[in-house]
């Protein structure tokens, strides 16, 4: 059975600069795939190609059985099934926490207001922010904002969620609360997740697969524990050395 995400010989260039070289990659439903690698290695670009924020230049990409490139209507359909959480949260600054979460189901799933509000309240409760529903993003801490952003992504009921360095912009004491929410999504809902992160602990605990990327290529891939314990390439050994020292 083909995976919910399938990449075959995918290349992506910005102008003359090729940032993804011949990527072959597949994610099955319910998998939690963690992608690590030095900055500029193409991790974020790979993620952004999956929900068509970037268009692949060559190769074949299938998401939820829709072949990309596709026309605009189909791309919207893909995005409904592929949520995304960003490093910079990107909450709508003029909406309360509740309105941020309500907006997706209302406008993308055409849910009525009452039902969308129920969904949103329930999700804010799940990320531990029930009592913050009337706060604006600027009144929340970074960790709280990112939890609202996770609730917002879940609210349209996607099949896949992409996390693009979700804890990299957070103060150290707030990283734990966000990772805890992500862990509970992975364990409780069986959500398919692709996570770009530097949090090796998270990768080891909930990752079903670890991918190491460098220079636009997938260098190593395997069970998180094994990949971390027995790195094959010099580049991964070097990278793990750097991560552990911080």
């Amino acid at each position: 059975m083909p995976g919910i995400i399938e990449m075959k010989n995918v290349c992506k260039s910005f102008g003359n600069k090729e940032v993804l070289h011949n990527i072959n990659f597949s994610v099955d439903e319910g998998e939690v795939v963690v992608i690590i690698g030095p900055s500029g290695s193409g991790k974020s670009t790979l993620l952004r190609c999956i929900n068509c924020l970037e268009m692949i230049t060559m190769g074949e990409l299938t998401v939820d059985s829709i072949l990309i490139p596709a026309e605009r209507g189909r791309i919207r359909q893909i995005r409904l099934e592929v949520g995304m959480v960003f490093q910079q949260f990107n909450l709508f600054p003029h909406m309360t926490a509740l309105d941020n979460v309500v907006f997706g189901p209302r406008k993308a799933r055409k849910m009525n207001k009452g039902k969308a509000t129920d969904v949103a309240r329930n999700l804010l409760g799940k990320v531990g922010l029930a009592e913050f529903e009337n706060k604006l993003p600027q009144q929340l801490s970074g960790g709280q904002q990112q939890r609202v952003a996770i609730a917002r992504a879940l609210a349209v009921n996607p099949k896949i969620i992409l996390f693009d360095e979700p804890t990299s912009a957070l103060d150290p004491e707030m990283i734990g609360e966000v990772l805890d929410v992500m862990k509970s999504i992975a364990k409780d809902s069986g959500m398919t997740m692709v996570v770009v992160t530097h949090e090796m602990g998270f990768a080891a605990q909930v990752g079903s697969r670890l991918i190491f990327m460098d220079d636009g290529r997938i260098i190593e891939e395997g069970l998180p524990g094994e990949v971390m314990k027995n790195p094959q390439s010099e580049r991964l050994k070097d990278f793990l050395g750097h991560v552990k020292h911080h």
Partner: protein, 240 residues
């Protein structure tokens, strides 16, 4: 020669009539200017990342054309003096119409020409205000919205629009005040606005000090109303 308050009170009715006309030209002008400005401002960034994604198929060449036409409008209007635009519209444009069509008696009312001049002129500057504000909205918000599967239309109306509008208020205040003061130039096409009224009274009684002082204070009062209205609008909107 003494400062005579009676000169001021005596000329007030005529000056107030002029001020009323100034208001009418300004209000109609900035309403129309907002319409032109929003259309041309969005037109200048049509099909760019600031409004979502690159257009597909036939929309690609259309967006290029729209960008080009909007840019042409802004550059032509910004690049010529408003007084030349007013005179062109009032004196030259009817001649042009008579030259190329067989409408023999075509002419434009001075007041109509004044309003149209403000609409077109303010529109060009407001277009740049709109473009700048929209471009200043964090692209991550668009990406977040798009990744939820929300349409570009909803994102422009509910996300980019409100955030950009809040940022437009200070420069719009500038432009509204400039447009109000620009109406004084319509003295050259014979519109009886405030400056023209002052000029006419002054020509008959030579009381320059009293008249121009009164005219200046009346302009200041009108611009203050605009400034305070926009300030209160700014305060009413959430800060972000």
């Amino acid at each position: 020669m003494d400062f005579e308050f009676s000169v001021i009170t005596g000329s007030l009715p005529a000056l107030l009539a002029g001020a009323k006309l100034t208001w009418i030209i300004t209000i109609l002008g900035i309403i129309g200017g907002m319409v032109f400005g929003v259309l041309a401002g969005l037109g200048r960034i049509a099909g760019t990342q600031s409004l979502g994604e690159k257009p597909q198929g036939i929309f690609m060449p259309i967006s290029v054309l729209v960008r080009y036409l909007s840019g042409f409008y802004v550059e032509v209007i910004r690049g010529t003096p408003i007084i030349v635009q007013a005179m062109f519209l009032y004196f030259a444009f009817p001649m042009l119409v008579r030259l190329v069509t067989d409408i023999e008696r075509f002419r434009i009312e001075a007041l109509t020409a004044a309003v149209i001049t403000i609409v077109i002129n303010a529109g060009a500057y407001i277009a740049e205000i709109v473009r700048g504000s929209v471009m200043s909205v964090n692209k991550g918000l668009l990406e977040a919205g798009m990744s939820l599967g929300i349409s570009r239309f909803h994102l422009i109306v509910h996300v980019i629009g409100p955030i950009a509008f809040r940022r437009m208020i200070p420069p719009l205040g500038n432009q509204f005040i400039i447009s109000l003061k620009d109406t004084s130039l319509f003295i050259v096409i014979g519109v009886g606005e405030l400056t023209r009224q002052g000029q006419e009274i002054m020509a008959s009684n030579f009381r320059a000090l009293e008249i121009w002082l009164t005219v200046a204070v009346m302009y200041l009062m009108m611009t203050t109303v605009i400034a305070m209205t926009l300030r209160s609008l700014e305060r009413k909107m959430k800060i972000f």
